[in-house]
Amino acid sequence: MIHVDELGARVIVAFGDGSVFLSESILWGFILAAILAALGIWMGHGLETVPTTKRQIAAELIVGKIYDYAKQNLGNKAETFAPYMGTIFIYILLGSSLGLLGLRPITADVNVTFSLSLLTFLLIQISGFRYLGVKGKLKHMCEPYPFMLPLNILEDCTLPISLALRLFGNIFGGMIVVELWMYFMEWLSAFVSSVPFMRAVFVLPLNAFFDIFEPVIQTYIFVTLTMVFLSKGIAGADKNHEAKTGGK
């Protein structure tokens, strides 16, 4: 049965006295990052002006989609930020779908989601200073009225918390539901045969929902919110850009 104390990620490798360790989410995260990096290098080498290989056509399709998607939200700053957005999109999407392989999804660990959302927070603040300057950033924080400054600071600080907990809660909840359903199916199939065959068959619809649909939606939301708050954070750096996106 599931115990609340055992819901965290398991420690796989421990060094020394056990205070330094690799949990399974960190390990799968590293492996996933290595695989994605290798895949990216393989897809990106030997590019030609006129694509002839299927590899290059697939790569151009993916990159083009990501740039279009970034352009919808970020306007003329899209070229700068699209690589980051594409990277976290693919990383979160595959990391949340690890349940399909029977592994623990890496985003079902609050440490992973908090580090991802801290990246978003740093990205927004640093690009705010970079594009608006210190004075412009302070002025931006005082909009629309100077007495709104505490509220604006509060809003900036709650954004990473809500982003992290939203992703964590959805994936973690899905993981628990799938686990409980698998226990239930094991119990049911014990009446019929000694092999828990129902556990393998009837979990497929749940896998389709919680390991494919839900990660896609949550990843889309994570990246979209990152882009929306980023474009809000650097709004005013270019007046044309602000007018074009209609203040979104």
Binding site: Q218, I221, T224
Partner: protein, 75 residues
């Protein structure tokens, strides 16, 4: 005694949050359907913003889910 109260609190937390979220999402979905019916050509845009708005509402439910898990760990 305390254990029972904690269990009730965990159940109530997620149940009460679910009431509000259900009402909000129902209103949102009905309005989105209405506008899709009025303007079928804007369907994809409406659908995308509807899903995003729904997920933002769901955040409250997810936060209470985290609280309920923390409470359930204390039983």
């Amino acid at each position: 005694m305390t254990t029972g109260i904690i269990a009730i609190a965990a159940g109530l937390a997620i149940g009460l949050a679910a009431i509000g979220i259900a009402i909000g999402q129902g209103i949102l979905a009905s309005k989105a359907m209405e506008s899709m019916g009025k303007q079928p050509e804007a369907m994809s845009g409406i659908r995308a913003s509807m899903i995003i708005a729904m997920a933002i509402m769901e955040t409250i439910g997810v936060l209470t889910f985290v609280i309920a898990i923390v409470l359930a760990g204390k039983i």
